[in-house]
Structures are given as C-alpha cells and as structure tokens.
Symmetry: C3
Subunit: 348 residues, 3 copies
C-alpha cells in the first residue's frame, strides 16, 4: 500500500538521487500512473513510447532520464536521474506505506509449550506453532499460518497468512513468504510394486537461506534424504513447484508457474521465466536464462549456452532459427512441391 505525503520536489530529488529541471518548491504528494495523476502527482517515464501519455497527464512532475526526456516533454517539471530504475525504486519506497513493527504475541494462538518464539516477534491471532520450533526476533507471523515441529525461522522474516510449513524446515533471516504457500510437503516418490504405488518415505527437509522471497500458492517439497535448498537471495514467484532434493543457486529468479523436478539443480544468478518445466536430474549452471514455457530436459545446461528456449530447450539463437522456419513450414512445403513438380516434369 502507499501513503500520500507532501514533499517539495527539492527534498524528493535528494531522496531519489535526481536533478530537478525547475520549480524545486513545487509540492507533490503521490506517485501515480499518468491516467490517474493530478498536479500533485509524480509520474514515471521509462520509455519514449509513453511520452504522449505523460504529456496528456495532469501530473506536473515526471521522473525520467536525460535521454528519454530530451526536448519532448512539454510543460513538465523533470526529475532527471542517471540511474533511472534505482531512482524509481527509491520513489516507490518514499510513498510506500510501511507499518511500524510492534512486537506482540497474541494469546488467541496455539503455540506448543516446547517452542522458543522470541518475545520480539509479532504473532497474530490464530497461528499454530508445534513443539521444538524456534522463531527469532522481529519476525511477523500472520493469521492461519501453520508451523510444524522442529522448524527454525530466523529474524526479520514475514510469513503471510495461510502459509503451511512442515516439520523440520529451516528458514534464514529476512525471508518473505507470501500467502498460502507450502514449504516441506512430501516429495512425490512411489515405488511401483505389483501394480500398486508404495509411498517412498520423505525424511529430508527444506532449507531456505537468507533474503529469499517466495510468492503465493507456491509449493516446495522436502527432500527424500538431505535437503531441498533455496540459496541466499533467491526470488520465487507464485504457483511455482520446487520438487524434492532440488537446489536453487544464489540470487536466481524463478517466475510464475514454473516447475523444477526432483534432484535437479539451478545455478547462481539464473532466470527461469514463466511456465518453464525442468525435468528431473537436470543441471543448469550459473547465469543461464531459460525462456518462458521452455522444457529443459535431463541434461547439463552449460553457462556458455547463456539463454535457452523451446522444448527441448536449445540456445536461443538455434531455437529462434528453428522457430522461424517452423513458422514458414506451409510455404516451405509448397516450394518443395513446386520444385518436385519441376524436377518430375523435366526429368521424365
């Protein structure tokens, strides 16, 4: 949520690290989209194609870059930044409504006796915490969160409502888990025997390191043995599936509806776009980008491949070449048939 608050452009420019073209004493009170802005709004212009929209907006102040702004914004006060994305982020921060943290452990909860929940946490009504679990200071647990046995949760975490965390999960510091996400459900393993599916016990756990953020309605399964590991700084979107014994490397980003199958690994600083499927026992090395909807087979994807795409995932250059010709298959087939006719006619 955001909060309207009055500030002079001069003061704001200092906060977001931008130069003002004019009127440092103009007062603004919000950040808006061009369509809904009024003269007290700041709007953000990151692409020349939106210049007209911004010119037509009632906003007087525009955050943009030198390059984008040059000569084409009329009657606007410019906040010009050399690092536009960074200034935009600071602008959002400025108007973001952040609730003051106040520790409080509700007494309308179900907290087992053998737990170690720091009194400097905020635990809302209707939370269940089982035996042997510890939670460090400044962590917020929202309502309807279930935390199993022997779970460790670090400090400064936010666990949103209706999240379920199974026994034995380990969560570091500064971790955010959005609503209705499940951490530690059983890995999907069955032994097929005489036409029946015998459950393979899943006796490992999930380890989530510091500064990880996980979206809503995502599932991360526990390991069969050992740990499913989400390394430092990883960001995972909504409706993502991380199967048993997977490791996601530091600072990697996994977009919505992507699934990573059992025992696969994703390296550091990778990006998996939306609806990607990674087969089991695949190994994606550091810095690889996987395009949307790609199917990654059970192979090693080398860092040198840089960006892969398609099903089965191939380097982007190759995949795009294939896609281009696939898109012209009807014409190709017709050309072929013409050639064939020509040959048959001439060579008969």
């Amino acid at each position: 949520m955001h909060l309207k608050k009055e500030v002079t452009l001069k003061e704001l420019a200092g906060f977001i690290n931008a130069d003002i073209s004019d009127e440092p004493d103009h007062i603004v009170n919000d950040i808006s989209e061009p369509e809904s802005a009024d003269e007290r709004s700041v709007v953000y212009l990151s692409n020349k194609k939106f210049i007209e929209k911004v010119n037509n907006s009632k906003a007087k102040a525009v955050l943009t870059s030198d390059k984008i702004a040059s000569g084409s914004l009329t009657d606007k006060i410019l906040l010009v930044s050399k690092d536009l994305e960074d200034s935009f982020n600071k602008l959002l921060e400025f108007f973001e409504y952040k609730e003051k943290f106040s520790p409080c452990i509700s007494d309308k909860t179900s907290i087992a006796s053998g737990t170690a929940v720091s009194k400097d946490c905020r635990v809302e009504d209707f939370v269940a915490i089982k035996d042997g679990t510890s939670i460090e200071k400044n962590t917020i647990i929202h309502s309807f969160v279930y935390i199993g046995k022997n779970v460790k949760i670090g400090k400064n975490c936010t666990i949103h409502s209706n999240v379920s965390i199974y026994d034995g999960t380990v969560i570091g510091n500064n971790v955010i888990i959005h609503c209705n996400t499940v951490i530690g459900s059983d890995g999907f393993g069955y032994l097929q025997k005489e036409g029946r599916n015998i459950k393979v016990p899943q006796i490992g756990n999930v380890v989530i390191e510091d500064n990880v953020e996980i979206g809503s309605n995502t599932s991360i399964d526990r390991a069969t043995i050992g740990s499913t590991v989400i390394r430092k700084g990883v960001k995972i979107d909504n409706l993502v599936q991380i199967a048993h014994n997977v490791t996601i490397g530091e600072n990697s980003i996994i977009a919505s509806q992507t699934g990573v199958s059992g025992s696969s690994t994703v390296g550091k600083n990778c990006i998996l776009a939306g609806q990607v499927g990674v087969a089991d026992h695949a190994h994606i090395e550091d810095n690889v980008i996987v395009g949307a909807k790609t199917g990654v087979p059970s192979r090693v994807v080398r860092s040198e491949e840089k960006m892969i795409f398609g099903t089965p995932g191939r380097t982007i250059l190759k995949a795009k070449r294939i896609e281009a010709i696939a898109g012209k298959l009807p014409e190709f087939y017709q050309e072929f048939n013409e050639l064939k006719k020509l040959v048959k006619d001439k060579l008969k």
Copy 2:
C-alpha cells in the same frame, strides 16, 4: 450440492421452459447421469452420440432438443427445449441445494476495532479482518479467511475458506472467490544491482469489479503503482496467475493454470483456454480466443485475429496449417531425400 425434491414433469417443464411429450403427471425427484439414474430421475441429452447410453438408462424423463431426440429415444418421456443449454441450467438450479442466508457474525473471530462489517453479513468462526476494512451486507466470509487493512468488499459476495486478501484490495458486489485463492500478493519485481536482487516496492492494489468469480488456488498480484484490475463479469478458473498491473476486460474467461504476465491487458469477452501463457506487455484486444497451451508474445493481438494458437500464438488457420505439416515432417524429409537422390542421379 443438490437436493432431491419431488415435482411433476408438468411443473418442472414450466420451470425450465420445455415441452413435455407425454405423462405430465409423472413425478421426478432428481437430475442424474444416465448410468446412475432411476425412474424418478431426469437425464440430460445434449449430443446424439449419447443416445444409446440414455436409452439404456433407467431414467424415464429426458431433457433434450427436437433435433437430437427425433425418433431415436425409445420409451422415454421427452422434455423438449428450444434453448437446451438454458433449460439445462434451469434444471440444475431447480435441484441445487442453496443454503438459506442467515446473517451472523461469530465471536470466535479476530475483527479489528476500526472495521465496518455490516451486521447483515455472515462471518464464520476463525476469520481475521484488519483495521479500516469494510464489508457490505449479505456477504459470507468462511473460516480461515484473512482480510488485510483498508479492504473494501461489496454486498452479496462469498469468500470461501482459507482465502487471503492483502491490504487495500477493492472487491465489488456479487463476487465469489473460491478456497485458498490469494488476492493482492506483491508483484514480482526486482532491481538487479551488483549481482543482488533488490525488491521493487509494490505499492498499488487489486480491484475486482462486480459479478466476478475466481476459482481456487489462484493468485492475483497487486500493482506496482495503480491497480491490477479484474473487470465486471470476468470468470477465472483454478491455479491461474494474474501478475501486477494486468487488466482483464469485462466478461472475459480465463481457464485453469493460465498465466498473464505483468502489465499485459486482455480485452472484453476474450477466452483464454487452459495453460496459456501471456508474456508481459502483451495486449489482447476484445473477443479474442486463445487456444490451450498457447504462448502469447509481447505484442498486440488484434480482434481480427479472432482465435490464436501455438507458441508463438498465431491465427488458428495458420497455426493449424503449420501443425499439420510439422506432424508430417518425417515423411516430408524422406520425400525431400528421394527427390535429392533423383536429382543427383539424373543430373550427374
């Protein structure tokens, strides 16, 4: 759920707007599938290929159309409708069990003091409602629903169990949200800086207009600034992802496991089938149908394209032509090799 209730065919025919072929005083008490019907059941026949199944059924009464029924149903009493789907809908409504609404706000809840929950709502046990939130009359909130701060919910809504609604969400009238769905989780935005992912504050909200229905386990993210908007009459299935700043136009339908990426728009009266992926900043105009599993790239999809299909999504005619030839690639390649051999043999 449904309810058995006795009714003469004459009375039922009036309710569902159909003509009776015979025996207006025959009493039925349920709607059934042909296999499980007894002589008091009504069965529904919408396609000639199920005629045998219906003939073999114990049901005496059959709802169908003139065209389907003509001469081929034996020993059945026909309820013949000129608008078969509509009559079927009314038949379902007739036997549907609808609980009588009785307002009641449980005292086993966690409702902050600064809220405005109409006393004509039903709020079940174990509901959490935060400060500044208002809920209008005749709305039902089931157990384990979490409603954040400054949320507005209209009248006649049903919010099923374990739904999570973040701060600042606005919901209209007659909205149904199924279990475990999440409204307003943070948009997935990070600024990559020196190898780290800096969170972009998500200070917008989600707006859901009147008459929207949203399935279970679906995620709709809040906007970065402004609103993610679900317009009037939109119907969204289970496990769907709607990213930040998306707008879904009036009366559009989005099937299960589809994902719409950030800042994309879907027009009015569109249909997105299952497992579709829409890239970010794509714009789908009104009345477009997107086939199952289609990948829609970041482009404008014009209404004139009518139906698109495949990855990347192309007009259905083109996509189907490509698919047809792709399916014959081995034969095509063999034909080519034969021609090549012929040419080489003859021209050497």
Copy 3:
C-alpha cells in the same frame, strides 16, 4: 523427518533384506547423502555414475546391488540387495520419524453439533467442521482445515493444514491430503448469454477412494452432476488441476502442474508427467504414459499407444522422429535451397 537411531548392520540388513559384505557389528545411526555422511551413516548407491562420490564419502556402509558394486567400491562395507529400490524404501522407513498417533479432539475448534467425528481421531486446534459431516477413527485433521457439510472422511486419513473440503465430498480410508489443497470447488462452467456469463450450478461432488495421496496446492473440482472421481491408489502431485466430472483410474500417477479438463477420463495405471494438459472430453485408456508438457487433445488415447508426447500428443516414436527433424529444420531448409539452386541452374 528422520530420527538418528543406533543399529548394527546385521540387524539393519535383516530389516531391509540385504546381505552384508563385512563387519556385521558395525553400528550405524542414520541414512545420509554422500556429501554429508559420517562413518556412522549409510549411503545409497543406485547408479554407477555416483561411485566416486560414494568412495569419497566418509560413510562406511553402502546400500547397493551386486551389479553396481562389483569391484569398484573401496574400503566400504556393502549392504547388497537383490531388490535395491525396495531395500532403500525399507531403509528410509527405518530412520523415518513417525509420531505416535494419539487421539484428541481439541476444544479450540468449530465443530457443528450435527457431526459424527470419531473420538479416536486427532483434530487439532482451529479446525472447522460443518453439519452432517462424519470422520472415522484414527484420522488426523490439522489446523486451519475447513470441512463443509455432509462430508464423509474414512479412517486412517491425514488432512494437512489449510486444506479446504467443500460440502458433500466423500473420502475413503488411508487418504493423505497435503497442505492448502482444495477439494470440491465449483466446476468452471458458464452459459454465455447476451454477452454475459451465467453460472452453471455445480451440484455434483468429489469422491476420493482409498489409499489416494494428493499433494499441496492442488484443486479438484466438484462435478456439475454426479461425481468427479479419484479411484483407489491414485497419487496426485502439487499444483494439479482436476476439473469437473473427471475420473482418474486406479493407481494412476499425476505429476505436478498437470491439468485434466472437464469430463475427461484417465484409465488405470497411467502416468501423466509434469505440466501435461488434457483437453476436455479426452479419454486416456489404461497403462498410458503421457510425457511432460504434452497437450492431449479431445480424443481417445488407446492403450496400444503406450506412451504419448508433444502437442498434440502422439506416440513417442512418432513424436521423437518429428522432434528430431524439427530440430534440424535450419539445415533441412538450407539443403533444400541448395538443391533448388542446383535444379534451377541445371534445368534452365
């Protein structure tokens, strides 16, 4: 979760049905991955490619087969099994931590008066159970589980936290449902009339037979009329969509993020891999395997097709042939152009 417990190899070998190569009195206390093992660990070796990793491990005891072990493991005590997967499963069972079941119905729940919950169940704090519902003995209901009206749940079931079960659902014995899964949400059916979407009442239910396990964040919709049926022994992974009126046959396995559309049927002993989409009114016969990401159209898939793959799903042999040539399309097109040039040059 697992539990360290000391046992001699002799005793353990008896439990897991393996032969010991040496040192029957060596004491072990855990099962570990090679990297984290110490000399009291047992490690599992199921594939020759991990021999070096196991040799480098601190573990002294290795569970493996005769064929894998032959001559290549150095300084290890071998537990040699003729049925390696089965022995591994027993080994996991040996170290699995299983909580002793103790019946207890919390009084911090919301259980309607007209229910029949066996006193031999365990119902945790913050559970809601509505009127007319029955639950048999030895079943565990975790916190924040919502169970609607007239639901039947058998014995020895485990319903994990934040699961939502709608009115009229029928669940057999020995069923496990993981966190945040939804059973019985409305089928996705609308009647399009004058540009509006009229809800089709969904008056059927969901029936889940014995020995079914369902992962987390999965949605199974109720039938329009009749039942959506999950037959005995079916195993369903996380984030799966099962639409209205679907039947999944005995012992079939459905992997993560797969969706089965309305009125489709899946036979016995089928395997649907991850991210598969099955169109509506498709019928997959017994024993069919559907490869990952496959799109199954609205047709009958015969048992004789054995394994299908691709979009649209074709027999694996055909699909792989097509894929192979599709992967060489740029080369194919170039070859074609060379031939064309040759022909044009020579035949002019």
